[in-house]
Symmetry: C2
Subunit: 278 residues, 2 copies
């Protein structure tokens, strides 16, 4: 589906389209689209809608990876086991590819094929815009940059990570409730799941930066320590961070008590993300 939604490479601006395809196809765990699909399944939403919403959120995620890897940001030359977008296509094209992937995410969400109810599409648009913008991912990345030069306490690191990765996870987990017109109670349960899930995911990511290897993660290791960045692991230590991740993962699973075994894959995913190698 992502392949079909991406513009085709057939004109002079080809490098832009190639960079967009390079950075969004054929790599990554596709964790966010998976959560969207599982959330949608809880409400009996047409899987074709869920796939399109999942593609939109993955475009958004891929744009953020391209920009995060830029020399002016994390200066990372490896992503998903391949050269980063700016290494492969040059910095100007990488900046534009990220910009255009963000636009594409909203183009997909706004279009009629994504959901028959325009009100639902608008809710998806505003929810993803908030999750990606200054109140969410971009704001979190700003704090993350400051974490290289300032000492952050656990409260601020928590806020950073809730914004940087948590809000997008929250969008994914609640997307089913928006598409399927779930109750406020169901929406909040999925939101809580995503909040705990997102923090557990991030702590596991910090631990992989410390203890993982480049083959499994597909990206450089030890970057946080090299940058002197304040993370959960640098503040709590590896052992306490690990047990905290386990705790959060369990709380994420527990937030889904409204559902029977229909939510088991979401519960399992919360376990998987703290045990993964990459």
């Amino acid at each position: 589906m992502m392949d079909l939604l991406l513009p085709k490479v057939d004109d002079i601006e080809a490098p832009l389209l190639e960079a967009m395809r390079y950075s969004s196809l054929g790599g990554g765990k596709r964790l966010r689209p998976f959560i969207v699909q599982q959330s949608a399944a809880l409400f009996g939403v047409d899987p074709r809608c869920a796939i399109r919403v999942g593609a939109a959120v993955e475009f958004m995620h891929c744009y953020s990876l391209i920009h995060d890897d830029l020399p002016a940001m994390d200066d990372s030359n490896l992503r998903r086991g391949k050269p980063s977008c700016h290494v492969k296509f040059g910095e100007p094209t990488a900046i534009l590819a990220g910009d255009a992937l963000q636009s594409l995410a909203f183009q997909v969400l706004g279009s009629q094929e994504t959901h028959s109810d325009a009100m639902v599409r608008c809710e998806l648009v505003t929810a993803l815009a908030k999750a990606a913008g200054a109140p969410g991912m971009a704001g979190g990345q700003m704090i993350d940059l400051l974490a290289e030069t300032q000492t952050l306490d656990v409260g601020t690191i928590t806020r950073l990570q809730r914004m940087k990765t948590g809000e997008i996870f929250s969008f994914c987990a609640t997307a089913g409730a928006i598409m399927g017109r779930g109750s406020v109670r169901q929406f909040h349960a999925l939101h809580n799941y995503a909040q705990e899930f997102g923090l557990a995911f991030q702590i596991a990511d910090d631990l992989l930066d410390l203890e993982g290897n480049v083959q499994d993660t597909g990206k450089p290791i030890g970057q946080d320590v090299a940058a002197g960045k304040a993370t959960f692991v640098s503040v709590l230590g590896a052992d306490r961070a690990r047990s905290q991740a386990g705790l959060l993962s369990g709380q994420a699973a527990g937030a889904l008590d409204l559902w029977d075994e229909s939510a088991d894959l979401l519960r399992e995913t919360a376990r998987y993300i703290v045990e993964r190698d990459g």
Copy 2:
């Protein structure tokens, strides 16, 4: 209105929010919101809707200026008579501020206050997403980067400019027809107006880069020539380019024959953009 729609500066991510405000408030001609308002007036659309849509498109425009000015792109240190965003706030913050302004544009368009009809809001979202993304502004900017190293013919430069600036102008001019549920004929008339208008605007911009001064334009002069960039002026020469701009401006005004004096301000704007000093 833009001031009200921008997030407030009150937490650790303050540099991001300051950069967003710095680059979108208190400067610029506000040409795009003006066209949105004039287009909306043709259809008797509530001016409060038009102001919000105008703010969204101005956020989008300001994001593009921030990213275009980056060292990896046009490397421009002056914008609207002030230091460019990355000169003032540093490159990482400037990249993020652009990203977050794009998200904000869609957040505004998707939200209920912008228009009571969700279908209209979705149409605005997809139209702006296409105008800003690979089929529009970002794709045009990609060709513009290639213009520094490749010889482009007039046809390709025309396509470049239709994408880079024309599609956003087209969004502005047709926004009234979308909001006010105009006829297909009205929509196309406004689209044609914007197409001619956009090219005239761009030729005038190229001429200002050659003949203008930094006080009036608020940005550095002679950048295209220094970069060896293929433009209308470099290909046609200044005199032919000037007469072409006048011709296009007249055609833009003529495209509005469906309307009486109610469209006079749009016609006048087409004249103004080829005669302006900055």
